[in-house]
């Protein structure tokens, strides 16, 4: 009965591990992943490693260009802005709001969204179906617009921006989770587990969750890049992070006035935003490809 095929691997990788292997084989996504990891580390350690406080002004070094240019000064690696504040410190501290905060927001939104989505998706008696339908309608509104409306109601400010973005992301998580869970629920293997007498929590966590992990991870990467954009955009409009607190979006907005005098004050936060979001998208995209490749074989 036994094929020879059965023996030559001693350790059998699980399908999720196989996705990871396929992901790992490619260079660009791995670089992006390392980039995001080091960015996270920098952002966490920012208060320790920044040379200056983000808001201290050096009157003798106003609008100093980055150190590698002709007029630059090694004291200020990335130069200073029009108030004489160190750009490097501001960028790193700003990263806490531009990159760290979205992570927290996504964790919050996904916890709530996945929980509700799982409940709605597993509900067979259609009690909660109305809820699902209502949230679907919400999805037709772009999340940024939804966040704007919420800000308009709550008022500007960092706390309100966080609440608004979190709330605007939740419907997507509910939608994705609900659909995935609902689809899995119809499948024979869930019925088989149900006939094994499994409890509902076991069904959810051990049976269904591993099978929908790929789509959830995909949604996480999408939500993260959306959250970063939203926070930057709100701050750019002056509705999110308030000055003098540094944030990449608000730094961009400030630099608009003196873009001809000190272009670096615009380019540096712009590049940070661009690189971060691109890295996230590359990771998400490669993940999708790895999953598809896994399905095809």
């Amino acid at each position: 009965m036994a094929d020879i095929e059965l023996y030559y691997q001693e350790r059998n990788p699980s399908p999720l591990q196989l996705v990871w292997f396929a992901f790992k084989r490619r260079l660009a996504p791995m670089i992006s992943l390392w980039l995001l990891g080091s960015l996270l580390l920098l952002v966490i350690l920012a208060p320790v490693i920044t040379p200056y406080s983000a808001n201290v002004q050096f009157v003798d070094a106003i609008s100093l260009p980055p150190s590698w240019t002709h007029d630059g000064n090694m004291q200020f690696l990335f130069g200073t802005d029009d108030l004489g504040r160190d750009m490097l410190s501001r960028l790193l501290i700003g990263g806490r709001f531009s990159f760290g905060l979205p992570i927290v927001i996504v964790i919050l939104a996904s916890t709530v969204g996945i929980f509700i989505g799982a409940m709605v998706g597993a509900d067979t008696q259609s009690k909660l179906r109305i809820l699902g339908r209502t949230l679907d309608r919400l999805l037709t509104i772009p999340s940024f617009l939804l966040a704007l409306v919420l800000i308009a109601i709550l008022g500007a400010g960092l706390g309100n921006a966080i609440i608004a973005i979190t709330l605007s992301l939740i419907p997507q998580f509910i939608y994705v989770t609900r659909n995935a869970v609902y689809q899995e629920w119809q499948k024979d293997y869930v019925t088989a587990s149900r006939l094994n007498g499994c409890s509902n929590t076991y069904l959810m966590y051990r049976v269904i969750l591993p099978n929908i992990t790929p789509s959830l991870v995909m949604q996480l990467t999408v939500a993260l890049s959306v959250a970063i954009m939203d926070i930057a955009a709100l701050s750019f409009l002056g509705l999110g992070v308030q000055s003098p607190t540094p944030e990449w979006g608000s730094m961009l907005a400030r630099s608009l006035d003196e873009v001809y005098l000190s272009p670096w004050s615009m380019v540096l936060p712009g590049i940070s935003l661009f690189v971060t979001i691109m890295a996230i998208n590359v990771v998400g995209d490669s993940l999708r490809r790895a999953i598809k490749q896994r399905m095809d074989t």
């Binding site: 059965l6 059998n12 019925t191 587990s193 409890s199």
Partner: protein, 270 residues
């Protein structure tokens, strides 16, 4: 002496998809009664859409009947009271690919019913899994395999292992043999017959194939548009004269080797 399984007036209705609340429900299964004895095989036959799957799902507890009762060893089975049912009535699905969880190893999937129905330490569970795998013609090593590493026949064997690991009295198989290759199908039928001899399992099988039914079934239940129109021993249904619908189900007229050859042109011109 009570029967192993007795169904009394089981029926099931569905609400059509695009229906008003007051419109009539469609009947998938009209009140059906039958009995099954230990160690016997019951075959459910009928044309497409006649309610075979519906009946087998009700017996296995996948769906609740709209009305009627099921008795196991003389005791009533409720849909909600699932423990007793899932220990004694197990199901094998048509598509072994879809009925196995792709993310769990074979061992983990076989452990699942034990976790919820048996109170045994993990070493004993391991042993039981090993011996069950051997019973269905696999090796203990297969416990560490993921389903995507197995062939169709091996997957169907795992599905059967999952069904018999709780030492059930009845195994329900809805079209479990149609998707298999001829060689694997013969192997699986042999396996099912062996298990029946060794463990005294009763089977309820749903199939379109009269040849398989003739080979393994003791009794046949025939459905026509949700209604049971015959329930009898295989011998008698085959030998006695029946109404045309039943005859057509039980006897495949044309695909006979002697008929393929020789007079084929006469057949097609009618």
């Amino acid at each position: 002496m009570s029967h192993l399984l007795e169904a009394v007036d089981l029926f099931k209705t569905f609400r059509p998809r695009r229906a008003w609340p007051w419109s009539k429900k469609s009947v998938a299964l009209e009140p059906t009664s039958f009995t099954l004895e230990a160690g016997q095989t019951l075959a459910i036959m009928g044309e497409t859409g006649s309610g075979k799957s519906t009946l087998s799902k009700i017996i296995a507890g996948v769906e609740a009947p709209t009305g009627g009762e099921l008795y196991l060893n003389g005791q009533k089975l409720n849909y909600a009271q699932s423990k007793r049912r899932c220990q004694n009535i197990r199901m094998v699905f048509q598509d072994s690919d879809k009925s196995l969880n792709q993310q769990l190893t074979v061992g983990q999937q076989l452990e699942e019913p034990l976790l919820f129905n048996r109170d045994m330490p993990s070493s004993e569970r391991k042993q039981l899994i090993n011996s069950t795998l051997r019973k269905v013609g696999l090796l203990a090593e297969h416990a560490a395999f993921y389903p995507h590493m197995l062939s169709t026949g091996q997957k169907q064997r795992v599905a059967i292992a999952r069904a018999i690991i709780l030492d059930p009295q009845i195994v329900v198989a809805d079209e479990a043999l149609v998707a298999l290759d001829p060689s694997v199908r013969a192997q699986i039928i042999n396996l099912m017959l062996d298990l029946q001899k060794d463990m005294g399992i009763s089977y309820i099988i749903v199939t379109h194939s009269p040849q398989i039914v003739k080979h393994i079934a003791d009794k046949i239940l025939i459905l026509y548009r949700g209604k049971m129109i015959a329930f009898n021993e295989t011998e008698r249904l085959l030998t006695e004269k029946q109404q045309p619908y039943i005859e057509a189900l039980l006897h495949e007229h044309l695909t006979n080797h002697s008929q393929i050859t020789g007079n084929s042109s006469a057949k097609v011109t009618e």
